[in-house]
Amino acid sequence: MSDELLTLCLADICRGDKAESFANDPAGTVKEYGLSPDAEKAILDVDVVAMQALGAHPVLTMYLARSRGVSPSEYMQALRSERESAHDSGTRAD
């Protein structure tokens, strides 16, 4: 699975013609894209860090989070926690 496919899925469900379908049936809609189980789970869990680690476009992870009711501060806290955790363990998650 390419990160482009993950980004395409996010594009369709956040800004495209799958937005309504995703709102009504998130799991069923995401299933249509043939993503890896990790990618599907990351989207359904709105796991921003995991999605970005899998190559999702950051603009779209932000749009997904917003559409699923994640506040801007929660979104940023998730990314900060990951960055701080990576720093503490001596690795950088760029």
Partner: protein, 281 residues
């Protein structure tokens, strides 16, 4: 033969509207007055149409199809509904004849530009026009640059795009009075960890603006993809400013407003107007 009669550039961060209450009144007033001033620059020349060098945020361009440039050719451009950003509803008026002429010029100039008769526009285009009081008063030809899905057009390509716009306007194939608007940038991150860490690359903004003020297109064109990326993924939108530079290379830049760091908006706010040779600010 037509003419370019005004040129302005500014940011399009949607938080200006979505989080206007998070900023102190004095700063907010300066920002909005700056937009009004840019709008006055355009309105005072009574253009037949605005050519807007702009970016979008996953709307017409997706991994399904992401050309380097995309021009809107239709009689109108529907405004994409973004409830969080409180944009006006409806559509921007288009300028199909001017768009068609531009496409011919791009083709003869060796610049490949995709075209859409149903180009949707988002806050990247609508927000600055709305703040400048121009959104529904003049026909608009949006030229969207791909700043999201690599490979992105080079800075030189964007500059050449702007040059081709000017060549068309100043040719016998055009009789219109055109105002140019560039939106986006300057240094900012969208959705990335850098945004979460509150990083705003003021050094990049300073360097970029100094080069603009000095008409140092060579320096601007030499900015590397790595340096641009390091300043944040939204910084790719400087291509729109470079396109405007390509159209009016001998015009003089004037800073209308520079707020280097507005924390709640996660970016600086920069507003620039250009004047032709022989004209004061």
């Amino acid at each position: 033969m037509g003419q370019i009669s005004a040129a302005v550039a500014t940011v399009h961060t949607p938080y200006i509207k979505a989080m206007v209450d998070k900023v102190d009144k004095a700063t907010g007033d300066k920002v909005f007055k700056g937009f009004e001033s840019l709008g006055d620059s355009i309105r005072s020349v009574n253009p037949d149409a605005l050519v807007v060098f702009t970016s979008e945020h996953v709307l017409n361009m997706t991994p399904r199809c992401a050309p380097p440039f995309l021009i809107g050719t239709g009689p109108e451009h529907p405004i994409f509904h973004e409830p969080a950003f409180k944009l006006p509803a409806g559509a921007l008026r288009g300028a199909p004849e001017i768009a068609a002429g531009l496409i011919k010029k791009f083709d003869s100039s060796g610049i490949d530009v995709a075209h859409s008769v149903h180009l949707k526009v988002d806050h990247g285009t609508v927000l600055p026009l709305d703040f400048m009081g121009l959104a529904f008063d003049f026909p608009v030809v949006p030229i969207v640059t791909n700043t999201m899905f690599p490979p992105l057009p080079s800075l030189a390509r964007s500059y050449a795009l702007g040059r081709a716009v000017a060549d068309f306007v100043e040719s016998d194939d055009c009789e219109a009075n055109i105002a140019l608007v560039a939106t986006g940038g300057i240094a900012h991150s969208v959705g990335e960890p850098a945004m979460a860490m509150g990083i705003i690359d003021e050094e990049f903004d300073d360097l970029f603006l100094e080069a603009l003020m000095a008409n140092d297109d060579e320096l601007l064109m030499a900015l590397s993809p790595e340096r641009i990326s390091a300043a944040g993924n939204g910084t790719n939108e400087i291509r729109n400013w470079l396109a405007l530079r390509g159209a009016v290379p001998d015009w003089k830049a004037h800073q209308v407003l520079t707020e280097r760091r507005i924390e709640p908006w996660l970016t600086g706010v920069h507003q620039v107007r250009w004047t032709p040779p022989g004209q004061n600010k």
